[in-house]
């Protein structure tokens, strides 16, 4: 059930209607039923896994809160080990056995959708309880809703327990601004996904699926640019829809993207890209490793380890490890140069470096990525794979991003007068009508993680 499908539209309308018809005290349970229904629509077999992880960390949270000292720590370690074991088995079993034992076992493992997101969310809860930054949740169904809440179940944003439960208890009906922003973000997200991401996906898929058919630097750059645009619009579009839906249900998710391609450094890029993951990695990996408190070398090491894990989180492949290392290395390099403050002239450099990194992220294999990397810088020119209208679409996106960066148009529209808001909505829907890809169904990129 993709967010941009008719099936999901029917589902969401039914959920929204039921939610507001039912008494307030019943509403969380309605959302829980809907969320399990939503997850079951992908593969009902994994409902048990989701329920199992929920039960385990719910109990772990309660138990930790009642214990002190070494027992407390032991429970945390057991919980972390169990969570990571689930992730390791479903996501990394073949990768690890092939890499370490040079052997592929004859078992077929289907990756439960969104597992990386809800495992990370659950880990953050247990760690927060251990750190005494979060009260344990007493109501098991409320905790189940926290892990399974359908707008962010399969691809985030990774919501912290503190944020979620502040909205749940006591639940407050969305105000005018929530409704306006929710509808706005849903429309914006749908437009980003169907009109922008899916059109660029067609180009990037055609390039990355048959590199040999598109030789030359121009083809390599345009194919990579297409992917860079696809993944941004795809993921940020999904996130916008998730945040928008949550707002209409009275929940407030954190911002996950803030015009990342306008970043003036890689450090700033990670403050703008997939913010809920980068802050998670900061809080639960980088800082526990020592962060930047233990000298220059250890800071570089910590950056590298954090980004390697961040890369590996995306998928079980050496390409993701290299992508993580690329970003980790660049973060360390920037720190060594003292580029702590962004500068406008570094925006194109940063963008090129990010684009180059996407090659490893998207290519099917290391060999493919190597070929593309060579083509980016050497050999014949080739042809640009992006058509004029697609470049115009990209140009329009840059213009909107610059205006948004400078004037915060979204906030002004949502809190301002209704005619301007209505015009913006109408324009988005019109762009959606004219450019939306409807002939093929292109899944969200991050659903595979």
């Amino acid at each position: 059930m993709l967010f941009n499908s008719l099936e999901f539209l029917r589902f969401f309308v039914a959920v929204l209607a039921g939610f507001y018809i039912l008494p307030v005290r019943v509403r969380p349970y309605w959302l829980l039923i809907a969320s399990y229904w939503f997850y079951g629509s992908w593969n009902p077999r994994f409902l048990a896994l989701l329920a199992g992880v929920t039960a385990m960390d719910y109990l772990a949270g309660l138990w930790i809160s009642k214990c002190e000292g070494r027992t407390r720590k032991a429970i945390l370690i057991v919980s972390l080990a169990a969570n990571l074991s689930v992730l390791l088995f479903f996501k990394y079993f073949h990768f690890l056995t092939e890499s370490l034992l040079q052997k592929r076992f004859a078992i077929e493992i289907v990756l439960p959708i969104g597992i990386s997101f809800h495992i990370f969310q659950s880990i953050s809860y247990v760690v927060d309880v251990y750190r005494r930054q979060q009260e344990p949740i007493r109501n098991p169904l409320a905790y189940a809703l926290f892990l399974s809440f359908f707008p962010q179940l399969v691809a985030g944003p990774i919501v912290r327990a503190k944020q979620f439960f502040a909205d749940l208890d006591p639940w407050r009906a969305p105000g005018g601004e929530d409704i306006a922003r929710g509808a706005f973000l849903m429309t914006l997200g749908l437009t980003k996904k169907m009109a922008f991401a899916d059109n660029f996906a067609k180009v990037s898929d055609s390039y990355f699926n048959s590199i040999g058919a598109h030789p030359g630097a121009l083809a390599a750059w345009s194919g990579t640019l297409a992917f860079g645009l696809q993944i941004f619009f795809d993921f940020s579009g999904y996130t916008d829809m998730a945040i928008g839906m949550a707002k209409l249900l009275g929940f407030h998710f954190p911002e996950n993207f803030r015009r990342p391609y306008l970043a003036g450094s890689i450090t700033e890029f990670w403050r703008r890209w997939h913010i809920s993951l980068s802050t998670w990695l900061r809080d639960y990996v980088y800082i526990p490793l020592g962060g930047n408190r233990e000298g220059t070398f250890k800071t570089y090491r910590n950056l590298l380890i954090t980004m390697l894990l961040g890369g590996l989180w995306h998928g079980a492949s050496w390409n993701f490890v290299i992508w993580g290392a690329w970003h980790g290395g660049l973060l360390a390099f920037e720190r060594s140069l003292g580029w702590n403050r962004p500068a406008w002239w570094r925006i194109p450099i940063t963008f090129s470096l990010v684009l180059s990194g996407w090659v490893f992220f998207r290519a099917a294999s290391f060999a493919d990525a190597s070929v593309i990397f060579v083509q980016l810088w050497r050999g014949p020119l080739g042809v640009c794979l992006l058509e004029g209208w697609q470049l115009a679409l990209a140009g329009l996106a840059v213009l909107i991003a610059l205006v948004e960066e400078r004037f915060k148009v979204e906030d002004r529209l949502v809190s301002g007068s209704w005619p301007a808001y209505a015009v913006a909505m109408a324009m988005m829907l019109f762009v959606l009508e004219v450019f939306a890809v409807v002939d093929v169904e292109i899944p969200f990129v991050y659903f595979q993680f």
Partner: protein
């Protein structure tokens, strides 16, 4: 926006704004001027342009012919012949290649909004009886393309529900509700090279009304084409290509489909819709049986006879069924379906004579 009602109102206003934008661009006639001329929707628009021009310029009683590519008579030759014979009507052709009765219903709604402009409308069919084939016109996907600029919001749900396959029904819903979505390939091609499109569209709009009226068919024929119906083998004229052979096999050698009454029901529905719209109008309807091909398939048992049933209605006439048999010869066809210049010329005069006889002293 602090108030919830204000927020709801703003969202509703956004939706209405979108509808207004969609109307201004795609439903006002503005974009119709720039459609790709060779596309299905573009051909329909050019046909409408020509017919509106004929309606405005020709003062004689007009007889409109509908039909697909097989209705390839020459209106110009027919009208010159009619004038020479003293017939008072003029023929004008609103048919578009690839269309069928469902499309004609919506096309006629545009060509003749008052349902009174024409003295008669000719509806060509390949048979007065209904033979089910493996082609299901109910789910004919190209209809949505032809009707891209004609479908209205109010055509939902009737038009989408006339499809039985969900995939096409969804596309039909889109076509009614979101015209821009249906025209998307056309719009993207326009955006890719607007200058070329504007030039092409203008050139075609300038040329089409007279150019298409003057058009004469090709002269080639298919002499040498023969079918042995016992062995189901075909002898081809020398030098024909694979495309020709494929058409012959598809058209002539197709196996008989189970006769379920599907085609009869389809014709009853859509011709019925056309007649319903003209209820109380002085416009007459004349069914004519097209020349079926250079070689005619052996007759199979047909279970229903929708066109003959329509003849019982007031104002609906049937041309003599066997009249076009004499044109069903390889020397009068350019392929397995379409008449060549000689065939088209003979059919043009034959049609004019038949209409004069049936319509009387118009």
């Amino acid at each position: 926006m602090q108030s919830r009602w204000k927020a709801f109102a703003a969202v509703i206003a956004g939706l209405l704004g979108f509808a207004a934008l969609d109307t201004a661009v795609f439903r006002s006639g503005w974009y119709a001027r720039y459609l790709e001329p060779s596309s299905s929707a573009g051909t329909v628009e050019l046909t409408l342009l020509r017919e509106r021009q004929h309606q405005a310029e020709w003062k004689e009683p007009l007889v409109l012919t509908m039909g697909d590519s097989r209705m390839n008579y020459s209106p110009k030759l027919a009208n010159e012949y009619s004038a020479a014979k003293g017939y008072r009507f003029r023929l004008t052709h609103g048919g578009v290649a690839g269309t069928n009765p469902r499309t004609w219903h919506y096309l006629l709604r545009e060509i003749d909004p008052s349902a009174r402009r024409y003295a008669a409308i000719v509806l060509p069919v390949d048979d007065y009886d209904d033979e089910d084939t493996f082609v299901d016109f109910t789910d004919y996907p190209l209809d949505v393309r032809y009707l891209a600029m004609l479908l209205r919001w109010t055509d939902a749900p009737e038009y989408p529900l006339s499809y039985t396959t969900p995939k096409w029904a969804i596309e039909a819903w889109r076509a009614c509700l979101f015209r821009g979505l249906n025209l998307q390939p056309d719009v993207l091609a326009f955006v890719a090279d607007p200058k070329k499109r504007v030039t092409d569209a203008k050139a075609n709009r300038d040329w089409w009304p007279n150019g298409s009226y003057d058009f004469l068919e090709e002269e080639r024929n298919v002499v040498g084409l023969g079918v042995n119906w016992e062995t189901h083998s075909v002898s081809y004229p020398p030098g024909v290509d694979e495309g020709f052979k494929k058409t012959v096999e598809t058209v002539l050698l197709r196996p008989p489909a189970p006769q379920t009454g599907r085609y009869g029901a389809y014709r009853r529905k859509w011709f019925g819709k056309i007649f319903e719209r003209y209820a109380g109008s002085p416009t007459k309807f004349i069914f004519v049986r097209l020349p079926r091909g250079p070689i005619v398939r052996p007759i199979i048992q047909k279970v229903s006879h929708s066109i003959r049933e329509f003849a019982a209605r007031p104002g609906v006439l049937l041309a003599e069924e066997t009249r076009t048999n004499e044109l069903e010869r390889p020397e009068l066809f350019k392929d397995a379906l379409h008449m060549n210049r000689a065939g088209s010329t003979r059919y043009s005069t034959m049609l004019a004579d038949d209409l004069a006889r049936m319509l009387g002293a118009l």
